[in-house]
């Protein structure tokens, strides 16, 4: 069984890696400058030309891209090649107003599959494995990403998608799945269901799990490992870059190796934009070195984390990122879905409620809960419980339509949600996902 999927890349020396990155970066900046008018304008405004970028050391000269740019440029403004060269799109789970749509050429999908294949091999996968993909398939990148990686490795791939948990376990037993790929909260749920069905980890054949798309704790990792009898590996990604597989964990379980031959990582000060030295805590920024369809340069992820080149016992030399420790914006990840408080505010206003609200996120039995308290106005009041509960339900449905997740809505009296002096406290996250 191979230890690495692409050993020459995964164990390359820093000099070799820099040479690959330098060559790709120079080409990529030229290509983006020629093909992407939106980014060309940003470069022109900054007075940077492709000739100024001769190596990775010049990266800091390039302008940043943010989520706001992606919205402004929606849908085709950041397209890096002719649409006729693109073969697929994926999309984020929805943001205020417009979604982010990312385009993929066949080459983009091939490199994405390679990234996921590296993750599966790092988790001990080979062509003798049966890989059950229980991430959602569709616009969400999870299902297709791991599916592609699994096939590249040569695993027998079970494209289950998420849901129907008893059937997941049935397949797990009948087809002797050895690797499970899904969100950590779904893995935890599968573990609980297994127990409810009167089964133990000995009744299934799983050895490893690759879990990502939402924050999870070490404690949760141990719970999942115990309930399913596996070793659990973290995986990181974002639709803007490609999807899962931008970085992946090895058996050391001390952070994720970034596939830096494709995605060049930097850590910046989120306030000043200044590049910080290795080991500093700051905002993670990615530059796609190969992507053709959606080639984002210096994209600010808003994830706060630390990078390290410390020698890893697995033998990989790819730079490692710590589990993200938070966000530099107000985005929440609830049950794997990206949620901005402003989205909830939009629904409240549409439904005729005041913009005074409080979002409380917690985790019960490894599943995220979302509670939204909203101030009732005199016009909306009714003397019957029937009508008030109907209003709560209608609001919960409207929020579900926007976010794709079910909230619990609580109507509260006017002026009971604290009016803040200065910054409004709109969100209380009780999950303690970060140390």
């Amino acid at each position: 069984m191979a230890k690495y999927y692409q050993p020459d890349i995964e164990t390359a020396s820093l000099e070799e890696m820099r040479a690959i990155q330098n060559e790709k970066l120079v080409k990529q900046v030229k290509r983006v400058y020629e093909n992407v008018e939106y980014y060309r304008k940003l470069m022109d405004e900054k007075g940077v030309t492709p000739d100024d970028i001769k190596s990775v050391d010049d990266l800091h000269k390039l302008p940043f891209l943010t989520k706001a740019d992606l919205r402004d440029a929606y849908p085709y403004g950041l397209l890096g090649t002719d649409l006729k060269n693109c073969v697929r799109i994926h999309s984020t789970s929805g943001t205020t107003g417009k979604r982010v749509v990312a385009f993929y050429t066949q080459a983009d999908i091939d490199l994405w599959d390679d990234c996921c294949a590296r993750a599966i091999v790092a988790a001990g996968g080979s062509n003798e494995d049966v890989c059950q993909v229980a991430y959602g398939y569709g616009l969400f990148t999870g299902g297709f990403g791991l599916n592609g990686g699994s096939q590249k490795v040569g695993c027998l791939t079970l494209p289950m998608s998420s849901g129907n948990t008893e059937r997941q376990i049935q397949f797990m037993q009948d087809l002797r799945s050895t690797i499970l790929c899904c969100t950590p909260s779904y893995a935890a749920y599968i573990g609980e269901t297994l127990k409810e069905m009167g089964l133990t980890p000995d009744d299934i054949n799983l050895k490893a799990g690759i879990f990502g798309a939402e924050p999870w704790t070490e404690e949760m990792r141990r719970d999942i490992e115990k309930s399913l009898g596996i070793k659990a590996y973290d995986i990181y990604g974002l639709t803007e870059s490609t999807g899962p597989g931008v970085a992946f964990e090895c058996e050391e379980q001390t952070g994720m190796h970034i596939n830096e031959d494709h995605f060049l990582a930097e850590i910046i000060d989120p306030d000043t934009g200044e590049v910080l030295p290795e080991g500093s805590k700051g905002e993670l920024v990615f530059t796609s070195l190969d992507k053709e369809g959606f080639p984002l340069l210096r994209y600010r992820t808003r994830d706060i984390c630390v990078l390290s080149r410390k020698k890893c016992s697995c033998g990989r030399t790819l730079i490692k990122m710590a589990k993200p420790m938070g966000r530099s914006d107000d985005m929440l990840i609830i049950r794997g879905v990206n949620v901005f408080p402003s989205q909830i505010e939009t629904v409240l206003l549409q439904e005729g409620y005041s913009p005074n609200y409080l979002i409380e996120v917690d985790r019960a039995n490894n599943v995220d809960t979302l509670d939204i308290s909203v101030e009732l106005s005199p016009e909306q009041f009714s003397d019957t419980v029937k009508e008030l509960s109907a209003k709560e339900k209608a609001l919960a449905n409207a929020i579900k339509t926007m976010l794709g997740i079910n909230p619990r809505v609580h109507l509260v009296a006017p002026k009971t949600i604290t009016r803040s002096e200065g910054k409004a406290v709109r969100v209380i996250d009780k999950r303690k996902l970060h140390d």
Partner: protein, 143 residues
């Protein structure tokens, strides 16, 4: 024909009910009858008071959510089956009772039941025809 009820939104939290009653007390308003419907998050306090207009104004001034609701007050004989007879009239006519609460009046031998239905006029008409007496406005509750 109908009676004015004050309906108040009360959050399920410590002191929530007192906030309402103290506002009424400070304005010298007498509570004649009350009921509370409660859910996990909030309650709806329903009151028959000595002066509903004033009650509504003072609650509103305090930022408390309240409304004035037309309800029916029916007088039923204080004997077994007294209430049942009145409800049968509504039930036979397919009129749903949203809620009801009762209290004893100062009149000897009679109880008063407040009922909330969708169509007050229709219900009042039917009850009247069945010989059930309706309490007229606030004055029925005067001391």
């Amino acid at each position: 024909m109908s009676v004015k009820q004050i309906s108040v939104f009360v959050e399920n939290k410590k002191g929530g009910l007192y906030e309402v009653t103290s506002v009424l007390n400070n304005a010298g308003i007498d509570i004649r009858a009350l009921s509370i419907a409660d859910t996990t998050d909030y309650g709806i306090l329903r009151l028959i008071v000595s002066d509903h207009e004033k009650a509504f104004e003072v609650l509103k001034a305090e930022g408390i959510i309240a409304s004035v609701t037309d309800v029916l007050g029916i007088e039923v004989p204080d004997v077994p089956g007294g209430f049942s007879q009145a409800i049968k009239v509504l039930s036979d006519a397919d009129i749903a009772v949203e809620y009801a609460y009762a209290f004893i009046t100062r009149h000897e031998g009679a109880a008063c039941v407040i009922i909330r239905v969708e169509d007050n006029a229709k219900a009042a008409n039917l009850l009247g025809k069945a010989g059930i007496s309706l309490i007229e406005a606030d004055k029925a509750f005067a001391k």
